[in-house]
């Protein structure tokens, strides 16, 4: 069972954990990607995330399906935020439950690694003196 969400609202880690909790799951792994206060020593004021929404949701769904198939996990919650984020806020939360912990860890890591490669979401870092789309240029 999968819970895929792309939202401008604050992400809720408890909702993700509650979704994946199950009596037959022995291990839950949760990854929380938060907004860092600096990049290469330069102070970040805030971040903005933009998404190609229908495709982002479809790609997130695919990733969670692949992870379920590949690692035999029970449930996956995959929530990503868009819009303006303040320092320390969660941009992404991934929760995975599995009968054994190795599958939960592997699947969670697969989801975040693949999300960062394929899901059409873009992060703009806003500094005191300008802004930059992350990873845009070589």
């Amino acid at each position: 069972m999968l819970d895929i969400k792309l939202t401008e609202s604050r992400l809720d880690v408890n909702a993700c954990i509650d979704f994946v909790s199950a009596g037959d799951a022995g291990g839950i792994d949760v990854f929380i990607g938060t907004v860092r206060n600096a990049t290469k020593g330069k102070s970040v004021v805030r971040l903005e995330f933009e998404a190609y929404e229908p495709m982002a949701i479809a790609e997130m769904q695919k990733i969670a399906e692949q992870a379920t198939e590949k690692f035999g996990t029970k449930k996956i919650a995959l929530h990503h935020r868009t819009g303006v984020l303040q320092i320390g806020e969660a941009a992404v939360i991934i929760a995975v439950s599995a009968p054994h912990r190795a599958a939960a860890f592997d699947a969670c890591r697969f989801c975040i690694d693949t999300l960062k490669e394929t899901v059409p979401i873009w992060k703009k870092e806003i500094f005191e003196d300008g802004e930059v789309w992350v990873a845009a240029h070589p």
Binding site: F49, E50, A51, P54, A58, L115, V119, W122, V134, A136
Partner: protein, 80 residues
């Protein structure tokens, strides 16, 4: 035929608009559309990468486009 172009992230800064209507000859491929876009917006070539998604799917550059296809310009993604 008419193709709808969607631009995101830095690609939108370069094309200047979220949506563009783009004319291509019938049977043009994704690769030919890319060439046409880079001719109009040369700064796209400076990016680390630009993938073209057709109707919300990553596709090979050889794919033939159809009237009213929606093509998204996907610069390097940076979610998570």
């Amino acid at each position: 035929m008419r193709i709808t172009i969607l631009s995101f992230g830095i690609a939108k800064d370069i094309t200047g608009k979220r949506f563009l209507n783009w004319e291509m000859t019938a049977g043009a491929s994704v690769g030919e559309l890319r060439k046409s876009l880079v001719e109009s917006f040369p700064r796209l070539a400076e990016l680390a990468s630009v993938r073209l998604a057709v109707n919300s799917e990553y596709v090979p550059e050889t794919l033939e486009l159809s009237e009213n296809d929606e093509v998204a310009l996907i610069p390097p993604v940076s979610g998570g």
